[in-house]
């Protein structure tokens, strides 16, 4: 999995590229969680994530909890319909605002 982090205004845009599963989620978590500081705004771009396992779901929720705990905000963008279904059925989507495009995600935070 490739993880790219860009700044757009005061928003951190995290682009994930590849499957998010037990072998990639720990690394993604290590890279992303440190972004969660007071007042941080984070967009996770999921448009290049074809598959997400249980571990991937948990990585996102850990992220949500750590960001929410530090007073920041996180949104998801670009979920495929399969991933959206999976997250909805398992209850994980309840925690996230999600948008179809990156721009919509960024403007929701700014």
């Amino acid at each position: 999995m490739q993880i790219t982090i860009n700044d757009v205004q005061d928003v951190k845009v995290v682009q994930l590229d590849g499957d998010l599963d037990g072998s990639t989620a720990p690394d993604a978590q290590t890279q992303i969680v440190p972004l969660a500081i007071a007042g941080s705004k984070i967009v996770i771009d999921m448009s290049k994530v074809p598959y997400m396992s249980s571990a991937g779901l948990r990585m996102l929720l850990v992220l949500y909890r750590s960001i929410a705990g530090s007073g920041g905000k996180v949104v998801l963008v670009g979920l495929s319909s399969e991933l959206e279904d999976t997250m909805q059925l398992t209850g994980f989507l309840d925690f996230f605002s999600h948008f179809s495009t990156l721009d919509a995600g960024i403007s929701a935070l700014t």
């Binding site: 037990g22 571990a55 059925l89 209850g91 925690f95």
Partner: protein, 704 residues
């Protein structure tokens, strides 16, 4: 500070190991690894078998070193496993001597009795690879669901209205329009329907992992392949939800999907009750398969005859040895797990009388398991409901060891109401008991010990109860020999569907009569899925093996039988708005609050003059609103006329305290929409002195 036990001390073929913790049993996440703990009192050695997910051949077999056994428990931590991609099982060494009760066989790979997820039947109905020697595969589970503020609802039991449903049947039919038909997610899509109906407790037929292919067979006439175990009353593992019931089972996310369903039901004020089957397992009798218990410690887990055969109090081949202390602990661990990890609100125990038998089958006066469950700290607010009989002849309705906690499926309520409904004589005395919450059965336990039901998954649906005299079970492939014969049903004049408008009108009325009786009875009402829209099983009273329209809820009936649905909705709402119908304690038949009326009084065609004779088919009673909940809350007066005679009659009404007038809430003899009114909008009765109630008709009035 780092703990010492994150470092391995042993190694086997590259796997880093350390002595594990004997408690808890099963597979538990510990820092850096997984703790695998399993009990066997008769095994001589144990080997942990590890697989990559779905692979036929193990990737590792790790014998437990001698120093990893404490007592009869083998405990080992294995470091560095890929949690999502690992499946595990055990090989057990020990004697094979069935006459002594031992069935050890080292060639079998055995599932962990504490497995919290079980692979192998991930998608319902997909034919498995029968060459796989490890069919039902223990997996690892993150038990870290984020419940936020959710907790079990703890609705007072007297306020429950239970809806008994089958996960797959509820939304599998294409008419459901569900995006994920037949699944936990499908139920979630239908929560608005359940709310609209008004129920506040969803009781699910078994959801512990089972094998729908168990005992599969072919339809005798059509050649259609019949699922052997559609209902699921045959458990493989008590700690795992059925993966095939989840839209995400194929992704291994069924645990999360079911928890998300529970959370959403709770958010909508609906409790979740599980039908749990602790009386037997899916391993069958001497000819059954090795799945888990038989190969791990047969003599502990099963009740055995002195010759080593399986006792069969369950009617399914074996009997779980529930009052062996180890098995008892497993049952308690299991229920605690579902209460704490899944926020389950209550449990209905299938053939619960077995839980009160000793290891040799004799009924115990003070069964340790039932007592432990009643006093368990984690289960303390859970509803515990017994099906208080078993297939070995024990019938304990009214006498189930209750410890002030257990309620019962009241089989006598079902039978009494059915007989009264079809117009049998010599029943009004019994009916008076049943509608009061069966004080003859539950004198010291109160009406909340009585789960009142007229229909359940076993037996006819409500529609079929008024449409068939006999069961029609040929489609089950057992020559109509299966299923109960004592249905107490009445077809209203013709066996099965008919165009006769009079018969159809009578059937419709009888269904309304039935639910009216149910909803005005003290105790806890339970409705069978689909009865509110007159679901039919075409006279089949034992549809355990049909994955088709015989079991599936036909959502088109929500439209076509809207009249009946409306009737149910209003009656449920009426029950909820009148605490006088939901007493926690038995009625006294006396005036204890000085209202001038007893809490319940009995009447007939003349007020204050009940006909208790053998030939009477009329039961009329008045509930005094000033006595609601022992006089603690205010309510209206409720008057119920049940005329099950084949002739109508004029019924004089008792006088009300000044300021109150009689309003008509329901009259099953009237055409819709005048058969029932929205609670609160009941019209004033023209003649305050009385009303005509037609043949086989129930009328309900409110004095307000």
């Amino acid at each position: 500070m780092e703990r010492v036990d994150v470092y391995p001390t042993h190694e086997h073929n590259g796997y880093k190991l350390r002595v594990g913790k004997p408690f808890p049993f099963g597979a538990t996440f510990v820092p850096g690894g997984i703790n695998f703990s399993i009990f066997s009192s008769h095994a001589t050695a144990c080997t942990l078998v590890l697989f990559d997910k779905g692979q036929l051949q193990p990737k590792a077999e790790i014998p437990y070193p001698l120093e990893f056994r404490i007592g009869n428990v083998y405990a080992m931590t294995v470091f560095g496993l890929d949690i999502e991609n690992t499946e595990y099982g055990f090989r057990m060494d020990g004697p094979f001597s069935p006459e002594e009760g031992h069935w050890f066989d080292r060639s079998k790979i055995l599932m962990d009795p504490y497995a919290r997820s079980i692979g192998g039947r991930d998608v319902w109905g997909i034919v498995p690879d029968w060459n796989n020697t490890y069919q039902h595969r223990a997996r690892l589970v993150f038990d870290d669901f984020d419940w936020e503020h959710d907790r079990p609802l703890e609705i007072p039991i007297e306020d429950l209205v239970i809806y008994e449903a089958h996960v797959r049947s509820f939304t599998k039919d294409p008419s459901s329009g569900a995006k994920f038909p037949g699944t936990f997610a499908g139920i979630r899509e239908k929560i608005p329907y359940l709310k609209q109906l008004g129920i506040n407790c969803l009781e699910l037929l078994p959801i512990y992992e089972f094998d729908e292919f168990e005992n599969s067979k072919v339809h005798p006439e059509t050649g259609e392949h019949l699922i052997g175990n559609y209902w699921g009353y045959s458990t493989m593992g008590f700690f795992a939800p059925k993966a095939g019931y989840a839209a995400t089972g194929k992704l291994g996310m069924h645990v999360d999907e079911f928890k998300a369903l529970v959370k959403e039901l709770h958010r909508n004020g609906i409790e979740v009750m599980l039908d749990v089957v602790f009386n037997h397992t899916a391993e069958g009798n001497e000819n059954g398969p090795y799945i888990s218990f038989r190969g791990i410690d047969n003599k502990t887990y099963y009740m055995l005859t002195p010759e080593g055969y399986y006792y069969n109090f369950s009617g399914t081949g074996n009997t779980l040895n529930c009052n062996n202390p180890v098995v008892r602990n497993m049952v308690i661990d299991c229920l605690r797990y579902w209460a704490a990890e899944y926020h389950i609100d209550g449990f209905r125990f299938d053939l619960a009388s077995i839980l009160g038998r000793d290891p040799w089958g004799a009924p115990l006066p003070n069964p340790p398991l039932l007592e432990s469950l009643a006093f368990d700290p984690i289960l303390a607010k859970c509803k515990l409901i017994a099906e208080a009989w078993d297939a070995g002849g024990l019938y304990q309705v009214g006498s189930f060891p209750a410890y002030g906690r257990w309620a019962e499926w009241n089989g006598k309520y079902r039978d009494g109401i059915r007989k009264f409904l079809k117009g049998e004589s010599n029943l009004v005395g019994e009916m008076a008991q049943r509608i009061q919450g069966s004080p003859d059965l539950y004198a010291s336990r109160g009406p909340t010990a009585s789960i009142n039901f007229i229909t359940a998954h076993d037996g006819f649906t409500l529609n079929d109860l008024v449409s068939y005299n006999e069961k029609h079970n040929l489609a089950n492939g057992e020559n109509n020999g299966d299923g109960a014969n004592d249905n107490e049903s009445w077809n209203c004049g013709w066996e099965g569907p008919t165009d006769d408008p009079e018969i159809n009108a009578l059937r419709k009325r009888q269904m309304k009569n039935a639910v009216a009786m149910l909803m005005v009875s003290q105790g806890i009402p339970m409705i069978l899925m689909g009865d509110e829209v007159a679901r039919t099983q075409h006279g089949n009273n034992n549809t355990y093996c049909h994955d088709n329209a015989l079991n599936w809820f036909d959502w088109k009936q929500v439209e076509s039988n809207a009249e009946q649905l409306r009737f149910f909705q209003h009656l449920i709402a009426f029950r909820k708005s009148h605490p006088v119908l939901r007493n926690r304690w038995h009625l006294s038949n006396q005036d204890r609050v000085g209202s001038g009326y007893p809490d319940i009084s009995w009447h007939g065609t003349q007020a204050w003059n009940a006909d208790w004779s053998d030939s009477s088919r009329v039961l009329v009673f008045l509930l005094c609103g000033k006595h609601a909940r022992g006089g603690l809350v205010a309510d209206d007066y409720v008057y119920v006329i049940m005329n099950m005679h084949w002739e109508g009659n004029w019924f004089h009404l008792p006088g009300l305290p000044s300021g109150r007038l009689w309003h008509i809430f329901a009259n099953t003899g009237m055409p819709t929409p005048h058969d029932i009114w929205k609670p609160g909008s009941e019209p004033l009765l023209d003649d305050q002195g009385g009303l005509f109630v037609g043949s086989r008709t129930v009328a309900i009035l409110v004095g307000k």
